[in-house]
Symmetry: D2
Subunit: 364 residues, 4 copies
């Protein structure tokens, strides 16, 4: 259920379904993903293909859904919400795990895909990729802000990286890990190209865009770290090597930076909680999948006796999927910030306001 | 302005002022901090020393306040909100920087200190320290969850680390950097000992406690990265080395883990957005201070000509202060989560509910 | 989409459907209501008939839905959102009216019916009835807080009043009005019996329960006035005849009033934004249906020429339906206030807390 | 604490203090109001007389403040929050009454006065008056939307009505009631002239402007009823006499109704939760003051013995003050809705957006 979209935006379901399929893919997924093929259904908020300005309900049916027949799990799996949820709610583990499952992210991906359609109207592009997997760094091209080229490259890679040539190495790593009954994590990066100045604000901590991005990303299942721009590396260098000098180039006046160019982008497009006309860069660390085929030590909740954790069908590596999900939640936060700044009940009004602001800002 | 505190909590201003003084300290601060000595004033919400259950207004007067006399800044400072704020609000830089200033964190520290008084009623302790400064890691003791001992150690250190013996090394580094007109960043860690099971929830992404902590911490001025537990390292190891096995020890039934012990705490006390009875561990990367005595390249906003950034009196290193601020915002989020879970209009009722839940959870 | 229900509540769809049918009934409805027979579908948040503590999605399919084929309306209907919506959103009237339609209340009735199932666990009963129709007052029995008896009586009445014997008079009035191409409004009343002390709060205006009830009720389509307790009459009498004296009767200690009886209930159960252990009484004025078969004067939005308003199939009188809707939104607000006060992740914990509070309150 | 004001608005404290003085006045107030003379202090959010776009903190010091010395009340006063608050919070009555006191409205009046300064930039005028007192209706002039003339008239009246000639009658009534130890209530009306089309929305019940106004008004101390436009009377007339026909007059194209004139305004400026370019009309019923010099029956909370309610110094009639408070909260809600619709970080941008929308709407 999404609220706040302006009226009059044409919605196309095909790109939404494409993102849903991407979420299900990536090398290292098990049988579960092969059963389901997610499709979005837009249930309300649309008339003749255009948004109405009222809330939009998206539905992604779980074709694998046979929850009512499933039994409870006796032994909580470390890394999941099994133990803590069962105690918090004083109830069965099954009631926790189905909701805590990353399955829930399907609809967040759908919402992100919708958000990208709004962003496209303002020439804002968002894409994500896998930057490191199982501790192995991945080379990236120089033209990392040429979004169309990068998406083409990423879509060639079985793990959604920007360097398909390294794929065989990761196939081997994943296969080997799977055979050992173990799992892998990794690092994903999302870049937003074309965002204007002034999304977010410095004036209230709850409304700072860096904070909002961090919340949305950290709240994705299995994410344990978030960085903006240079991230932790910024803590290790002196200020003269971290902050991005400000230049002025009249030739770029028409671009989103309004002519204020920056030779570096260590800030990752965000200063004082506001966008600064540069590319927004967000990175996230995903821990390995918590359900191991070779299970971890656990306890039977009834008897309190030590035993291996229960096993539910699972994957070896879902970092590729995480890159889709983090891309989606970032897109959604940016779209929200865009609506916050330019508002307007209709897309027509919102676009006119965007233009109005750009004109005023150029004259400041 | 804080809302949601139960009625009947005795408020002590002294520990609040102590935290305010700590925020102003730490080696590497300039003249600014020496002028002001912050004191909190509780303006409403208290009667005869006890909270009323109504909103509490805290005030920390800025004794250095002469804003009305100050001139605007002509050349935005890279790393600050100067440029982006001036464009977003179509106004003067001065109107941005005074609000964006980390000065605002004084009252967030006061709020955190108040939150710690509520947490203390439930035997929950929170403390923060500097874990790395200018790229130099700092050794830490083994008994890192013995909060009183750690606080004693930290309070001996001029940079608020857990290893005062390394202090001379940092004094030298900071002095050298200051002489070069440069600045330093670092990494801080906050630990919450004694939180019960079940704060936060898995059921809605906006209410997951890991997401809320990430937002609060990333929204602190100059923070560019946030980790929970093992953080980015968790992305690099296989699942079998990341997830924390679950054991059961009847001797610990009375503790907050209810007997469910974990030989490791790589999750940092949070699984599926909920606390799991272990110590909560949050880490944050602070970039170096953005105002350099040897200024960075900038542009005069009127003439668009290249020139050095404007200079406002500033410090060389404020990582120690950041450790106080991050500690404060973490304490505030934990207190909020505690109120969300145990609610109750009065402290008396809240404590009875806490006991009630612990009893029910032990019997689950 | 409902959030905040505790886990472990057994959900029964039958009473929800019964309320949906009641919303569609009442004398004076046209053909529209005869086509559809609403049924609720609980889409998520339930496992084996019990709530999970996660959000609950309810769906009521609009069987009459052929929106895509419908044409736009050229001439806005006075009293509806047609004109103002078309201008606000710079778009077609059709895009407004389908969302503004009282059709949306079907799902609010479903949510209210669900709320009543939670309230029933705490012996709180809610019911609504028509108190005045087309300017004609209706007699009411004395035992108006004997909910089961009153519901039985109301369910006998074709207009959902507490005096079925007056039905023929209203049948005649509605028929006559319908023949004249006109419409009727009326006044509905909702009573909540069994609410404990202390729902809502005095401490923040946004959280006062009287304000929240007023918002929820006024936001129901066609409602133009809201009263609590004596309402406007309270403005006309001296204080000595308005305020409810406080007595104490040890025999009633076990009741929700804890022994503090009030010989009158002019306050309608709410003092200073909090419940006071008495019956909550809310009244609402519904204007007549805005679509008249004998249409009002309007303007063609394209040509700006005067013409009769467009006509969409409609009813003569929907005050009975309004009594169901207002009952539902009141039930929902009371359930929300109950969750706010007693919270708890599971119904089991929530009930234990209710008992705990009652015990502490009796000892105060 | 007010958030959301655009940057660049010039703030004038004098009109704020004038409204604070008005709140303290009106015939029928006791000694309490004579002691205090409220003054606002703008504590933050302003630089050189202009708003910064950051939160604005207003303070109105309670000069009568000696709370710490006051004793608790033994016997709750009917009509106040004394009994219900003491039970809810399991604490003293004193801790409730000082917060529940209408004293809190001083700062809401200040916020409303500030809101009116923003509204004035968009030629929106708000004023309130007493329409009925102690059950006696008051005549009103025809030109009730000529705001300047009406304010002049109202400011002549000792009870803030639009008919100062009736003043002697009310003086006598109030004096007589006061001598009898009793109190009076009344009905106030607030009119908003000049609001554009499209504030509020039909699309979500929580965001409908009629609902928000109802909440804000009902949450004012002692208000028991709220009407919009014709209010309860609309429930008694047929649709043909209630709904306001739509005409078109090209001569009025430049006005806020964009040429769509309505010969009547029974809807009170709100259709489907949105403004329709007409005058917004809100009415509220205030019950008599709850503290009577001739006290009502109550109970000693310790002994449970029947006794007269405790007496705190109080007034005979505060309907005039209520007219100021309701005016203030209505102004605040309208300003909020205006910011929601036209947003913009700076007043300059907000005004340009307002103009942009008016131009687009005229062309629709």
């Amino acid at each position: 259920m999404i609220d706040g979209f302006p009226a009059g935006l044409a919605i196309d379901e095909e790109p939404i379904n494409r993102e849903l399929a991407r979420r299900q893919g990536g090398y290292g997924r098990g049988g579960r993903q092969r059963i389901e093929t997610d499709k979005v259904e837009v249930m309300t908020g649309i008339w003749k293909g255009l948004t109405l300005g009222s809330p939009i309900a998206l539905q992604v049916i779980n074709r694998d859904y046979k929850l009512e027949r499933l039994e409870d799990l006796p032994r909580p799996r470390p890394g999941h919400g099994d133990l803590t949820g069962a105690i918090k709610f004083l109830g069965p583990i099954r009631a926790i795990l189905e909701r805590a499952s990353a399955r829930e992210t399907a609809v967040r991906v759908a919402a992100g895909a919708l958000a990208k359609q709004l962003l496209a109207e303002f020439s804002i592009q968002v894409y994500g990729f896998v930057d490191e997997l199982g501790g192995v760094a991945i080379d990236r091209p120089e033209n990392v802000d040429d979004v169309d080229a990068m998406i083409a490259k990423r879509d060639e890679s079985i793990i959604y990286s920007l360097n398909p040539e390294q794929d065989p190495q990761f196939k081997e790593l994943i296969d080997k890990t799977g055979k050992a009954g173990d799992t892998l994590g990794g690092i994903v990066e999302v870049r937003v190209v074309g965002a204007p100045f002034g999304l977010g604000t410095h004036a209230q901590w709850e409304r700072k865009l860096d904070g909002k991005l961090a919340q949305a990303v950290m709240a994705v299942q299995a994410i344990k770290g978030v960085e903006i721009g240079m991230g932790f590396e910024a803590a290790r260098l002196p200020g003269s090597q971290v902050h991005d000098p400000i230049h002025y180039d009249p030739m770029e006046q028409e671009s989103t930076n309004l002519g204020y160019t920056r030779p570096t982008n260590n800030a990752g497009g965000l200063e004082a909680g506001m966008t600064n006309g540069q590319t927004i860069v967000v990175r996230a660390a995903k821990k390995p999948i918590s359900t191991l085929r070779k299970p971890l030590e656990s306890v039977n909740l009834e008897t309190k006796e030590a035993d291996a954790a229960s096993y539910e069908r699972s994957d070896v590596c879902a970092v590729s999927a995480a890159s889709v999900i983090v891309e989606s939640v970032v897109a959604f936060e940016i779209a929200t910030a865009l609506v916050d700044k330019f508002g307007g009940d209709s897309l027509e009004e919102m676009k006119a306001r965007y233009q109005l602001f750009m004109d005023m800002a150029r004259k400041r």
